[in-house]
Amino acid sequence: MRPADPSPPAKKQTRVLLSLVGLRKTFDGFNAVDSVNLQVMENEFLTIVGPSGSGKTTLLRMLAGMDQPSDGDIVLRGNSIVHLSPNQRPTCMVFQSLALFPHMTVGQNIEFPLKMRKVSASARNERAYKLMQMVRLPETYYGKNVMKCSGGERQRVALARAFAYDPEILLFDEPLSAIDYRLRKTLEKELRDLHRQSGKTFVYITHSLEEAMVMSDRIGVMQAGKLVQLGTPEQIYARPVNRFVAEFMGETNVLPVRSDSRGGWIVHGLAGSFKVEGNGDALEGFAIVRPESVRALASAGDADNCLRGAITNEYALGSRVQYHIAVGKRTMLMELPRGALAGGSASNEILIGWNAADAVFVTQ
């Protein structure tokens, strides 16, 4: 692991760099990307997350100019770029496959965009070494066959090559998905630092919300071609707009609830009345209760909502432990720091609960 970057975070710009206006892409009558409106701010690290088939890759390819939108516009600083080919756009994509040129050395790969611009050999060379230093590739790698590099080294080559193009916006198509966990964590942090140092705008797509949380200034969540939520990592985590976003974040308790019209709420499959912070007039919906919001209680009055159940399973998640607790017809998930639950009773009976303010109410 590298030491923390000493330079202060770049001042966040609020100017709009790129606007996607009603962007739509139709394949055989199917809307892969459906009327996406999105503004990318200058210097921001924006991550689009979504499961496979949610249209995030298609969205990115339209930004890069590799796919033509069926409808809508892409506007860069007030000028439409939708009709420009990839080589005319100030965007550059780091592919999932990295798309390194196998017949070239590390140096030749990095210099490729400069060579295309007919930059002199000596200037190319100088720039390549600077970029290699930036992405932490040893100088000796300049002449190395790119296919003999390790996975992490190839990532760095691809990154340096994209930077050599000197784009205003770097696009990332899940470049870390094939990397093992430890290295991925390192590269995530490096990428965030690189974003900060370079002052470029990054648009990153991934299916891992965890990855998005680590790196991004803002996160957009895509579902079936639509951008369903856009916000800071905190907003996405704390205030998911629907079940899909909440569940995409990770395992969570989704409780179907309806108002008993006397101020209390009925949870499907559980006995009793519950406290839920509803949303306006909605009488029906789902209460999202994160496993880490569920606590083990000493007595029934310690939380707004309280349930008695039995632990059926427990899973060690590193520093935390996840418990599956059977309550009525439901199984509740609870996550506690390791060791927090002192030696349980022989019957596995447990009293759990959560506060109404820790749950999020969504209507769909």
Binding site: P102, F112, Y165
Partner: protein, 279 residues
């Protein structure tokens, strides 16, 4: 004996008997006294002396063979590359059918197919006959060096096409898109990425067709009508009508040396590992 060597033994014996032995026999005969049938008994350079005698015109047969082969390779490269691009990237679900159509002629004997072309181009044949019906007449193309070349291009097209297609299909499609994204124009992306990556497949095809075309004899005999004599024809004549095995052997050895030389040079520039995506 280690298991590897023990298992390889049958193949080694087969190669020794089926591949090395005939070559050694030919080599030995090439140093035998002219017009004798005893190899290993005598040693003579007379056969080579005869070939290299300035008065001997057998070099023209060599020149025709190598010239035809080179021209065949050149034409096939230009023809097969675009077809290969089409099969791999453009034709989509028509590709398998078109590929099969290219393979199909291989199920029919080469000589039969060449006689088919003779019937097609013959006076009062398919083409000429059809044109006569409408008051014209067909071009007089048969039995010429040009027709020999046509026959060779026709015969060896699949041998050029399939290595080319293999090379192209092993190439990730991302790379050209990435090159364009990195600022390359269409031409630059083709020159710097597509073509170099297609080269191994093309080179294998070129090598294969060159070797096959240098040894070709049926084309010059059937559609070329022996308008020019190629070296394989000379070798055949030496072994059959002339009953001069040592001379035929010496010609064979020289042809083998030429083809072997070209092959080695080409292979030294070729990276099979990369073609197969192993590196």
């Amino acid at each position: 004996m280690p298991a590897g060597r023990r298992c390889a033994l049958p193949v080694l014996i087969l190669l020794a008997l089926g591949f090395a032995a005939p070559l050694i026999a030919v080599l030995a005969f090439s140093f035998a006294q002219p017009r004798t049938f005893e190899a290993f008994a005598t040693f003579s350079l007379a056969n080579y002396a005869e070939i290299f005698d300035p008065a001997n015109t057998v070099w023209t047969s060599f020149a025709w063979s190598l010239g035809f082969a080179a021209a065949t390779v050149a034409i096939l490269t230009v023809v097969a590359y675009p077809i290969g691009i089409g099969l791999v990237r453009v034709f989509g679900r028509w590709s398998p059918l078109i590929s099969i159509l290219f393979v199909f002629p291989l199920f029919i004997s080469e000589n039969v197919r060449l006689y088919g072309w003779v019937l097609f181009f013959l006076k009062n044949g398919v083409l000429d006959g059809a044109l006569r019906l409408v008051g014209g007449h067909g071009p007089d193309l048969l039995f010429s060096p040009g027709m020999t070349l046509f026959g060779m291009v026709y015969t060896y097209l699949p041998f050029m096409l399939f290595p080319t297609v293999l090379g192209l299909s092993l190439q990730p499609a991302d790379l050209v898109i990435a090159a364009r994204d990195l600022g390359a124009s269409r031409f630059q992306a083709w020159r710097d990425i597509e073509l170099p990556l297609a080269m191994p497949g093309l080179l294998i095809g070129m090598l294969l067709t060159f070797v096959l075309a240098t040894g070709a004899v049926a084309e010059s005999k059937i559609v070329g009508g022996q308008s020019v004599i190629v070296i394989t024809h000379d070798i055949e004549t030496a072994f059959t009508y002339a009953q001069n095995w040592p001379l035929g052997s010496a010609l064979s050895v020289l042809l083998t040396v030429v083809i072997g030389g070209v092959t080695l040079v080409a292979l030294s520039k070729l990276d099979l590992d990369r073609i197969l995506g192993r590196k």
